[in-house]
Each structure stands twice: as structure tokens, then as C-alpha cells.
Symmetry: C2
């Protein structure tokens, strides 16, 4: 089972590493980090660099495809014709086509989410609508057939566990959850916009703009 | 504020990337990935490679030090005298010295946890006792003064948010939680040994041994 984690400049690393850590222990998993060409790819922090193991061209038929999001490049990447074309082609034969965070916009741009319910990071839900998908901002993961989209950043861990359950059964997924000791106890409870105050939402937007290098 | 994320061969990537994604947006944060020397370092999957940005020698006085764990090298790394010596020295002047998962054993080997309560991955709690620390297997994060240890793998996200609260205040931590949309909804509930059946615990050990390349 070949799992292709897409790696493009500006990715949010946790979008990718959350599901990677969950899925990599699947029986028979062959993990790949794929990009335009093999080599170093720098994340949206501009400090972290990860190595791509294969090009898109070398990976025409992954069984699982996962597209992460970005804090700095989620719109720019939509203009990467090579990525979009590869997603269109690879999707024809995947068992699962998935995204985390603003990675859903890549699937949407590729025409895969047309008329389908999907989710993404809370800040870009309207981007889904722009590309013809139906935002489900209250869902953590949204399944439409063999397409599964997850909400922002950390939601990729939940997506990964859900996929392990579908692919290898509940017992394996429960064991995997225990291996990564995923017994979340966040010290605060503001992880969804419905739980956050207006001040927290405004604060999050300000921090985000700062992270993205956008200043008023 | 200089944050040094330790990168050694065989690390469990999520141990590192969870808290990195949370802490990197701290005001004034200077993130570094540190190792024996600058260059590529391969994680315990043997597929994922991350780039170290600085050597230990180039990073004598980090403000925050974080040591991740490993599925394949958590014992081997204890023999890395350069790492252990650096942790001993760097700890003298840190504001926070922290670990995720079996990274706590590195702190313990460095003598930093002597007689102190601490936690680590559920499979290696006894390792803490071996090095003179007092295991707290039911805690998600354990603080002793300026030392904070987290449980296995995914617990680094909770550690990161807790630290943001201590360093930059509750409002900033709440905004950060919303940015990474950390509103966990695991599809199963077996993330702690106290919640897992004997069969799940046995299954987790088997998967873990397979991941670590250890076969009966």
C-alpha cells in the first residue's frame, strides 16, 4: 500500500506529520513524500526543511494520497499546474484521496470536490465554496465516498486514525491510538470557532497574519 | 527567545513537530533544529528526513530545549555523550527544559530528573525509575520547576500549548489552539493504557516491536 504525502514549499508540517505518524505503521505501508522533484522542501516556518523522497512523476498510482495545507502558500499552490494535474490523474486510481487543512483547496481546484461536502481550516471554508464544494465547518473529518477531508492542522491525526480503522479494522486503529498515546488533554478549550470568544478569534487571525508574513 | 528542538537519528517526528507547530508562533521565537552537526537526520520510519539547522556546539544557551523520543533509538541515544553533555550544559541556563515521549530518558540520563516526578511514553515508564526519576504514568504533562516532561508522541501538542500559556499568557495560548484547530475528536478512545483493553495493549506492543524492527 503506497501512501503519498504531498510536500510543497510552505506546507504546515503538522498537517503532514500527524497523519504520517499514524499511517506509517499500517501493515505493508510504503510511505513516500512527493513533490515536483526529489529534494529539500521548506515548510511555512521557513526554518523546517523536509526531504521529498519521490517526484510526482515517479508516483503515478498511490493507494492513498494526502495533501496538507499551508499558512503561507495555500493560495499560491493552486497555481502549481504540475501538482494539480498530478492530483487529477492520481485520484483516478487511489483507494483514498485525502486532505488536511487548506490542502482541501487543492482537491477542490482539481475538481474532485465538485458538489461534495468537505471541510478545511476554519479561516478558508469559503474557499471551498468558491471551487464548488459544500463547506461543513462543524465537522472534524468529512467523507464523500473515497475522498476524506479534515479540518485545520491537528485534525490530520483524527483523519489518520479514522483511515486506519477503515483500512485495517478497529482493533488495529485502537492499538495505533495507544502507540501515539493520543489521549488529548488540551489545557484550554478553544480549538473550534464555536468554542472560542470573539477576542480569541480575532487574536488567532492576528497571529496567523503575522505567521503568514502579512502585516496591516 | 531561542527554541532548540533536538534532532537525532531515529526520532519520532510527531514528538517534535507537534510542539514545533505550537511554539513557532510565539512572539520573538527563533526556532532551531539542533543535532551533532548540521545536515539531514532521518526519523524512525527510515523514510522521513528532516534538516538540522544548527549543531549543539552552535547552540550553547537555548531559552527552551525540547528533546523528542524515538521508536527505534530511545536507548541508543543515551550513549550519545555529545548530546548528553550538551543537555547538561544547556540546561544550566534554559528557561524551560522539556521532553516528549522517551525524550525524558535523555533528561534523566543527564541527571536532570534525579528524584523528580516525570512522565514519558507508557512503555518506558520504568526507564525513568532506572535513572532516578519518579514516574507519573497517569499525567499528560509533569512540571517540576522549569522542567516539563510530556507523555507519548501526541502529548507534545498539549505540552506546547501549556508552555505558550506560561510564556505568553492564556489569551495567546487560546488563539494558538484555534490556529491549529486543536479540537480533538479521536474516533476511538484508547489513547491511555487505563482506557485500553489488554488486547489493545498487547496489539500496540506488537505493532510497536514491528515498527522498531524487533521480531520475535
Amino acid at each position: 500500500m503506497q501512501i503519498a504525502f504531498v510536500l510543497y514549499p510552505g506546507i504546515t508540517a503538522l498537517d503532514l506529520i500527524g497523519p504520517y505518524e499514524v499511517l506509517r505503521s499500517l501493515p505493508g505501508a510504503e510511505v513516500r513524500f512527493v513533490s515536483n522533484e526529489r529534494g529539500p522542501v521548506t515548510a511555512d516556518s521557513e526554518v523546517l526543511t523536509l526531504m521529498s523522497t519521490h517526484s510526482y512523476a515517479e508516483t503515478p498510482r498511490p493507494d492513498i494520497l494526502l495533501v496538507p495545507g499551508s499558512a503561507t502558500n495555500s493560495m499560491g499552490i493552486l497555481e502549481d499546474k504540475e501538482l494539480i494535474d498530478w492530483v487529477v490523474e492520481a485520484h483516478r486510481t487511489t483507494t483514498w484521496t485525502t486532505s488536511v487543512c487548506s490542502g482541501a483547496l487543492v482537491l477542490a481546484k482539481a475538481g474532485i470536490l465538485n458538489g461534495l461536502p468537505a471541510t478545511t481550516h476554519w479561516m478558508v471554508q469559503e474557499g471551498l465554496r468558491h471551487f464548488g464544494a459544500e463547506p461543513r465547518p462543524d465537522e472534524r473529518i468529512v467523507r464523500s465516498g473515497r475522498i476524506v477531508t479534515a479540518a485545520g492542522v491537528s485534525a490530520g491525526i483524527d483523519l489518520g486514525l479514522w483511515l486506519v480503522g477503515e483500512i485495517a479494522g478497529r482493533e488495529r486503529a485502537e492499538a495505533t491510538q495507544l502507540i501515539i498515546e493520543y489521549d488529548p488533554r488540551p489545557p484550554y478549550d478553544t480549538g473550534h470557532v464555536s468554542k472560542a470568544s470573539d477576542a480569541t478569534i480575532e487574536g488567532a487571525r492576528a497571529v496567523f497574519l503575522d505567521m503568514a508574513g502579512i502585516h496591516d
